[in-house]
Subunit: 329 residues, 2 copies
């Protein structure tokens, strides 16, 4: 190509000067660089990828960016990947759009790996990816039936820890604000809470409301839960954004005090949870660690590796939305 001609070298030579680790003399390299600069030459990744079978692109499927947890995942993933010279190609399916089609498009782009945060994937597609040696890792979700990697916070552990905390805080009547969508994580958190409440204190009556996974959803669901005959004195919100809505509903609409009248605990630890206005006690979703493991799973060469499920311990972040342990304990 032109650069080669101008520099008076072979095409292979220019390729080598732009491929770190190739054998090229500094004399040639210098000539090529000069010519490249003169011609505003930029290597063409397409052609390169076509032959090397590596695009340095990882596809990421995100449900939406409204929930800050996803922003955090996205941000962290992007940063870490960039350290390896690879970029994120973003896919945000809108509801009617079926996932299989999105997956298919990812494959068309020949991405090096596929990361799916929430939302699921059909086993047909999982097989397709496997067949093409494209690692798939699910973030914060897990389908045992699927042979793809997954990394997530330990929802059960988190649920238990949350239940313990509210129990220790002297809670007697419990409420749960859950998401209407049936994400496994939500379900697991809920089950764990219910089970622990029952097994450790014999509590069976828990008021549950489902809402959308938004501030508004939490607000409405809180209104619902708190107006039940036996008003809860302890509230689990399966997601921080919902917790924020719930807190605002409780304080500003219902005029109740947190945590005196009702203790609130959330899940995720989004940035707002730390705001002075909320100071929400929550079970953290370990974004850094999740992405760290994601990177490892992506790097796994052969798809011969059996699918791994990595589970990260829950970490309780204590703030002021829950009662501290009564003194007599």
């Amino acid at each position: 190509m032109d650069v080669a001609r101008l520099a008076g070298v072979s095409i292979a030579a220019v390729s080598r000067t732009f491929t770190p680790g190739s054998s090229i003399s500094s004399k040639l390299s210098k000539k090529v660089h000069k010519a490249a600069l003169q011609l505003n030459y930029v290597p063409n990744n397409l052609a390169r990828s076509l032959i090397t079978r590596r695009t340095n692109i990882v596809a990421l499927m995100l449900p939406n960016l409204d929930n800050q947890v996803y922003s955090a995942l996205l941000s962290e993933a992007s940063l870490r990947l960039q350290e390896n010279n690879t970029q994120l190609l973003l896919f945000t399916p809108n509801d009617d759009n079926d996932f299989d089609r999105t997956l298919q498009r990812m494959l068309e782009y020949q991405v090096d790996a596929i990361v799916i945060a929430a939302a699921s994937i059909s086993s047909r597609m999982a097989a397709l990816c496997l067949g093409r040696d494209v690692p798939v890792v699910m973030l914060g979700r897990h389908l045992p039936s699927l042979s793809v990697h997954s990394v997530r916070g330990d929802a059960e552990d988190g649920g238990v820890k949350a239940a313990q905390l509210l129990l220790n805080g002297g809670g007697k009547r419990f409420g749960i604000i859950s998401g209407s969508q049936s994400f496994t994580t939500m379900l697991e958190r809920k089950q764990a809470i219910l089970k622990h409440l029952s097994s450790s204190s014999g509590i069976e009556d828990v008021v549950i409301a489902d809402g959308k996974l938004t501030y508004e959803g939490g607000y409405q669901a809180a209104l619902e839960v708190m107006s039940s005959a036996e008003r809860p004195d302890s509230l689990f919100c399966l997601t921080d954004i919902m917790a924020l809505g719930a807190m605002d509903a409780i304080r500003h609409k219902l005029n109740l005090r947190i945590p005196e009248d009702v203790a609130v605990i959330g899940f995720d630890d989004i940035p707002e949870a730390a705001h002075e206005s909320y100071k929400l006690t929550t079970v953290r979703t370990p974004v850094r660690q999740m992405i760290h493991h994601m990177m490892e799973l992506i790097a796994l060469e052969s798809s011969e590796e059996p699918p791994q499920t990595i589970m990260i311990d829950a970490e309780l972040i204590l703030r002021s939305s829950t009662r501290s342990v009564p003194s007599h304990l």
Copy 2:
């Protein structure tokens, strides 16, 4: 390739069945589809792009996702682009990373267009992009010297409207919480406020504090501003996240009332601004419209088009952090 062989047709035929609008009989198309399904064939965008010179990828450079404005831009852009079958390739430079290198990498990926939200670009690079016919559009920022497109909210208009509002609310002593980084938007907002305050009411003394563009930054800056000799009764926060921090500092640390003791106005209208806990009056950054125009600018074929600067009127979102107009007006 294999599909062609299995289907018993030419390579061109399979290409045509996967290229909408090509001339292909339904008989052949059916045969090809069958074979493709059998072989799990997925078209290779790389090869296609190499020849068509279109990747259906748009590069987006974002400073960080902490600020929800950027999440919103990202989200909206991704959604709109997907409607045109194109995906976002994300670049999040970390500070030490120089922008020119990032730009260069974008070009290597042969992206169809480059969108830059905040952060700047050297004129050398602008020229390079122009030379390769890659449209560049800057979001929310503008450098007159650069020949790239830009679309942004009218910061001046916004500043004036904000100033008017706080003035009408009976403000006498004013404070501004600004960002330490020198984004043009910040500067323009500040200038506009200062100018309007001065020209319409002869106010020259304004307490200004710079902070990081974060909740924390706003919190600290508010503490600083509010402890000045003449404590402001009206506070401009050049960014909503900073405004949230400021509000929390004012209420929970300083124990002052909003808006009675001090009126607060922000810029951007991020989702949290609408939360019951804040109810922040703010000047909206018109994300939808910005992306809408971005799409148009990207579509512009020839880079012969002169660079356009699209300015969108500011919209005041009235909530409860500002005083309403005194009755005697």
